[in-house]
Symmetry: C2
Subunit: 885 residues, 2 copies
């Protein structure tokens, strides 16, 4: 067993020995090696803690001898002696694990402060009250941590003394009473717990070490580790370090500093300090600290820059040195003891998304880090806050419920449960949030009228999510925490069962999925200038193309503005389900002859052509993949008797016949029903009209296009062969009719069923590309439907039956295997086969990394996720180079 000393510009450990020395110990060793002034000390390694527990909570053999060596080093470095009445050495004993567990473990300050040393400290500092108060603090901490006595015991004593003196809370104890407190404490400890604070300073150190080791296993530490997935057998390191005092009168101070502004990312020393104070005073909130730099000056508050220019300069020098050496923005703790600056801690600084982007780019520009490192520095997920409006972080709203972040943004409005009411109230100037169980084609106008949409069911690709993203509306879906009663116009919170009526003000955060009560302040989108630079670097670095899902021109526009390489998936269902067309679609579905159906689709043709023309125009020659109709018939089924009557009249069909037909068509499992290319093969008119509309639109718009025609839900090669022939034929026919040269295009398929993956070689014979539909593929592979999983999937995640939600992060073990198989077999049959992946999982950086690893050519994500995917793809490329392929 050994210890690792540091101080005086030397260190036996180093900054990279975090596993051994803990974060704190490694940081101190690193600083000392860099010549940064740190109070000398030594660190007991984590294996000492493990040995402590292995040995039944006793100090392991040889450890004390090592501690004695460490203490000797500190005594020499500070030219002080433990317990010395003239120049007493005081030390702090602090925990410090390899993984950050803030506030979970214990610390004891001022160890060594024996009664004799108190007098020495008083004399030396010329401040008797300081010495007495230090003693008090020591006794209280020691009693709690080293002796295990409940803090209330000594607190009661202190209050009793205060009461006896007739002092209110506002007044501090006079020195005379402070001086008597130790005796009162001593009596109380004996009376309550039959323990004493040792007067031998070495016995104090030993008891402090044991106390801090034990704090590894307090109940709250155990709970924290369980919640954060930290193993219990890591153990903590313990650092014993000479005390320095920021409260030794004028010229003394303590504070925290960031090497750059953690909010804006600006390059200047940023932080706060308190003159004549100890560290805990800064963080306690009892005092308002002063800004360090003149740039942050407040009226009436001094700055360190002004009041102690020398210390400020020294701090700036150290900050620069540490940032350069450690290659990241640092969060520093320091103490100035009578003019001498001592650093107590350094660590990578937490910062705002804004600052994260700016500092990464600027540090790369300054040459402190390379661009790859800069790319890895930014958490892709955090970009959302920069590029979309979000709830103000300082607003501290009351979060009622949490759903899926289906479409970003932050909006407030009154809850309305009926789409017609939403239209009415919105026309009357009210801001409305439409709340529904799920939405369907009937809700289209309501969604248009609303500023946001909230549903209690449905996933990231539910009707509400798709429509809201298409319209750029903020949307939270699948919010299982609420029960919506549309008929009564109210919703109930599942927890607490509060009932919220129509008209209640709500705020939605579509970036986090949070539903808040009232009108909460929001911040607009405002990315820093560095954002564009970083995205440029990401684009240069990534191998994956990033395309966006977009069902209409507006959405396509947003996607391209956010840097999409093209439109990876245009779902034409949306065009069909738009409010004014759903009745046409119903006519088509219920038509009892090919001729009737053809007549209906002919009426759809001009509408589709217009939609496609707008899209192609907006795409401006970028790739655009159009998926042919993939509509579960179920979804357009009229559910109300009146709707059925209307439709029967439209079709001149007896209601009874229609009702019978509807009954036959109603699927018990719509996902596995009559949809995708099954519809295209059995109702060939539908795809014909779509393909015609697409190629006529391309000729109408003119110019060069990159059109990909996507056939949905293929499970056997023959489906693809037949539809490919038909599509090719129809495209040629359109060119022929117009006397125009044929518009170039490719035909490929969605890979959404396990079978498609297994027979990918056969399918690839007829497909120019594969687009994996990760949602449906996950659904089928697991036999889980996202919409129905609410009763058990949360249980599975909480109880770790599953490590993560496979609809959020692609399941590498199962679904990922199928994707790999399909790519391998597909490319074996058709070398160079283009492969992409779409689905809600593309919002997850780990999934993007998977896509990179398996050699996909592109991902297609929601428009608003494009920047996140671009960065995640770049990170995957950077990380990928380090690993074997």
């Amino acid at each position: 067993m050994r210890v690792y000393t540091f101080g005086n510009g030397t260190a036996e450990g180093s900054a990279d020995m975090i596993d051994v020395l803990g974060g704190k110990g490694a940081g101190l060793a690193g600083m000392s090696r860099l010549g940064v002034p740190v109070p000398p000390g030594f660190t007991l390694p984590t294996d000492a803690c493990r040995a402590f527990y292995a040995g039944g909570e006793t100090l392991p053999d040889g450890l004390w001898e090592a501690v004695e060596r460490g203490l000797a080093f500190v005594e020499q470095a500070r030219d002080r002696r433990l317990g010395d009445p003239a120049r007493p050495l005081l030390v702090s004993v602090r925990s410090g694990a390899a993984v950050s567990m803030p506030g979970m473990m214990d610390t004891i300050l001022n160890v060594g402060l024996t009664p004799a040393a108190v007098e020495g400290l008083a004399a030396e500092s010329g401040d008797r009250r300081f010495a007495l108060d230090s003693h008090r603090r020591f006794l209280e901490m020691f009693a709690e941590v080293a002796l295990g006595v409940d803090a209330t015991v000594l607190q009661d004593v202190r209050e009793a003394v205060r009461d006896a003196a007739g002092l209110g809370d506002a007044h501090r104890l006079p020195d005379s009473m402070l001086a008597r407190l130790p005796d009162a404490y001593r009596a109380a400890l004996l009376r309550h717990a039959a323990v004493e604070v040792p007067v031998d300073p070495r016995a104090q150190v030993e008891a402090a070490l044991i106390g801090v080791f034990r704090s590894w296993n307090t109940r709250r530490a155990l709970r924290f580790r369980r919640q954060n997935g930290i193993p219990d057998d890591l153990g903590t390191a313990v650092t014993v370090q000479a005390m320095v005092f920021g409260n030794l009168g004028a010229g003394s101070a303590t504070g925290v500093a960031f090497t750059r502004d953690p909010n804006s990312g600006a390059r200047r020393l940023f932080g706060e300090y308190l003159p004549e104070a100890q560290g805990e005073d800064v963080v306690s909130g009892a005092f308002t600290p002063y800004p360090l730099s003149r740039a942050d000056a407040r009226p009436g508050a001094p700055t360190l820059e002004d009041s102690d220019a020398t210390a400020y300069a020294e701090l700036t020098r150290i900050a620069d040195l540490l940032e350069r050496a450690l290659g990241d923005v640092q969060d520093l703790e320091f103490t100035i003891e009578r003019g001498t600056v001592w650093m107590l801690q350094t660590r990578a600084a937490k910062r705002s998304a804004r600052a994260e982007v700016r500092t990464a780019v600027e540090m790369a520009d300054e040459g402190t880090i390379d661009r790859d490192t800069a790319l890895l520095r930014v958490d892709p997920e955090r970009l959302t806050r920069l590029i979309h409006p979000s709830v103000d972080l300082h607003a501290r709203p009351r979060v009622l419920a949490r759903g899926l972040p289906a479409s970003p943004g932050a909006v407030s409005g009154i809850a309305v449960f009926d789409p017609e009411e939403a239209v009415r109230r919105s026309a009357a100037g009210e801001r409305v949030i439409l709340v529904r169980v799920e939405t369907s084609a009937e809700d289209m106008e309501g969604i248009r009228a609303a500023v946001g949409v909230l549903t209690s069911r449905g996933g990231m690709t539910s009707h509400a999510a798709l429509v809201a993203r298409g319209l750029g509306r903020c949307c939270v879906t699948g919010c299982a925490d609420i029960v919506v009663n549309e008929r009564k116009g109210q919703m109930t919170l599942r927890k607490g069962s509060a009932v919220l009526e129509t008209g209640t003000w709500l705020t939605l955060d579509g970036g986090t999925g949070e539903v808040m009560l009232g009108e909460v302040a929001t911040s607009p989108a405002d990315p820093p200038a560095a954002f564009a630079t970083l995205m440029g670097w990401a684009d240069a670095r990534r191998c994956l193309e990033v395309r966006a899902n977009a069902d209409n021109a507006a959405e396509a526009g947003r996607a391209l503005e956010l840097g999409a390489d093209g439109i990876g998936l245009c779902r034409t269902e949306h065009m069909f389900l738009d409010y004014d067309r759903v009745s046409l679609v119903r006519e088509m579905v219920f038509a009892d002859s090919v001729a009737t159906r053809r007549a209906v689709v002919e009426r759809i043709l001009p509408l589709q052509r217009k939609d496609f023309a707008a899209l192609l125009e907006r795409a401006g020659g970028k790739v655009i993949a159009v998926r042919l109709l993939d509509l579960p018939l179920h979804d357009v089924m009229p559910s109300q008797r009146e709707e059925l009557s209307d439709l029967a009249a439209q079709l001149s069909m007896p209601v009874d016949v229609l009702v019978n037909r509807a009954r036959v068509m109603r699927a018990t499992n719509p996902v596995m029903g009559h949809r995708g290319c099954r519809l295209g093969l059995t109702f060939p008119e539908v795809y014909e009209i779509q393909v015609r509309a697409l190629f006529e639109a391309a000729l109408d718009v003119g110019g060069a296009h990159q059109i990909e025609v996507v056939v949905p839900l293929v499970t056997c090669a023959e489906e693809m062969h037949r539809l490919r022939r038909r599509i090719t034929h129809m495209a040629a026919r359109v060119a022929d009719e117009r006397g125009a040269p044929p518009v170039p295009f490719t035909v490929g398929t969605m890979i959404e069923s396990p079978r498609a993956c297994l027979v990918a070689d056969r399918i690839a014979e007829a497909a120019d590309f594969f687009l994996f539909g990760a949602n449906d593929l996950t659904s089928a592979t697991f036999c889980i439907h996202r919409d129905d999983a609410g009763r058990y999937l949360p249980f599975y995640l909480e109880n770790e039956v599953l490590a993560y939600d496979p609809f959020v992060r692609l399941d590498r073990e199962g679904v990922g295997q199928l994707v790999r198989t399909a790519i391998e077999r597909g490319r074996a049959a058709r070398p160079g086969l283009a492969c992409g992946l779409s689905g809600a999982q593309t919002a997850d950086p780990d999934t993007i990394a998977f896509c990179h690893e398996v050699g996909l050519d592109y991902v297609s994500c929601a428009a608003h996720r494009v920047p996140i995917a671009r960065l995640a793809a770049a990170q995957a490329a950077v990380r990928g180079e380090g690993s074997s392929p």
Copy 2:
């Protein structure tokens, strides 16, 4: 180009050259080689036909030279010459493809009958009328087949001549008019089509060959091939053979014979003949032929055995010779020309299921074939008719619709659409068929009361199918040809839209899925004695164990009587859904606390224990696999408002709360919902009570048991680990409570999701066996649900997008790959892991063969399919030895 001669005990071809010579030509070559008397002839091979078409419908180079050689052979063999006025040679020119296409192609008889030859034939036969009539027949056939003139042209001439003579239909033309017919024919052919029948006999042969080649591509032949999946490029062989005449006066006859009775299988010559007739007279139906053998004698009809003992003896000799040589029962065509027996054709005889079994066993016992061959001789599918009542084959019922053969048997009863009415009418003594869209727990008593069940939706494993099989009721499900209106008490036929009301007599055939109008005669089950022998041989030969699905003791009993090796799958849902328990299940599902739920399941415990005890007793120590509850919650959801009210009262819960809860639980895709082990993990009480009931029952019954506990719908290893621990714990606890030694058991899982296959190695760590659930696995792999596939799967099969229904035959290409993968990985992780497969596909012999090939240990099929599976498994073993593993 060559031809293959035969006759006079020699042949250039042989019986196994079917691809080259067609069935007919190969048969003739084979017979000739065996020394059986066949009229000499030669065969043009199928490649001649292909060359004919490749060369633009002309005879290929060198073919005519070969034909001349063939003709020379025949002339010499018969000592006759083509066109010879004294001893003319007449030949038949017949098509004969490698695949049987009965009646689809053409034949011309009496080719060579020039006007001069007619006189020769008349003189030689001493029967002028015979010669004239032969000439007439020749001209009519030649005109139609070789000259392509519509048959009505000459028919009109014949009628005109007859009318001119004032003759009715009943009278034959006098010889003088018959003699003038050729001139009239000649004139009509010239007038109508400007063609002539050549007088050069070689020109006749050439034109006849071309005509018969062309008959390969007539419209009806093309349609037949399309319907039967026969490739169009096979081509037909053509056999040119010396004519022999059964109508050359006394001592001449023609007939057909079977080497054994094709109905009973009895070993004796069976067949019919007509004296003084040609082949077409026997099959035309214009004359009633006489029996060959005395054993089949009818009053007033002669038998060949009596009237020509020599010919009969020769025929018997030839029949025995052919059967022994060809190793199968033969279907023969023969002609006796003036006392000489000539064989015209031999082929394997079509026979009844009964005869198939009996002849296979008897021929093996006689040593004609070995037992392996006998096993291959019987089509497993046909056993159904022997072991279950079936519709009488002679009844010729009107088939209204066709559904899935869900539970075998044949019953008649009146259609009733309401389960309560079914109970009432059955109690009043009526025989009732319950007709429903689908059935659910509410229909239980109605199903019990009915003799048969018919549903318009649902597959082979729907509720109706499971319950009916459990009760041994005849059942047809998924009958998409009818639309059931339960409310109105009627059903509509989709084709023709006839409406059938309550009370209509129907007959169901649960073995074929046919729904017939009226009370149709049925035949009881009556397997021949040889059946048991054959099954014994099958059991000795097969490697696969054949277990049965059985949900209750009665079904288990039937399965074991049919030779099941054990119960491979006992689905406990059934026990839960039984009529008197469904309300308990609902209470369980809607219980709002663990305590309430536990109280409910405690009430279920004694019922389950009783069920299990009965099953274990009936299993008598044979293996029994009990699957824990796999109930989609959806299925027990009350759908009517009153039911909800009742349930709310039972649970002392406000109706509103219950309605809300039901809404939350209602899955949009039940198959992918909260079911299987997901239920077991989230509602642990349910499996606990089931496991307790099972092991308490085992101790109650006593004796040795082979219990397998099956965990349903596992998708990740962690599910299996947890449930295995719980099951093991509960089993130990039961033994402990009783102070009994623990009942041995194994724990395994259903493999029903693609993911389970992909992570099979991980799952096998916690599973003693895998039981593949082929229905659900197919469903997920294809994203097709059987119940919803009616709108497109029939289209897919008709249009050959899919080669077969993957719910009927296991999809080797996709699902089969997953099964292979799972077995390999599972056994790699746990050597010797037992693997079985259940699902509707086990009814298909090809699926059984697949199971054998991939090394499964067992299949578990419906009880009534056990004999079929036993035989199919034996066949797979026999066939498997020939192929590489």
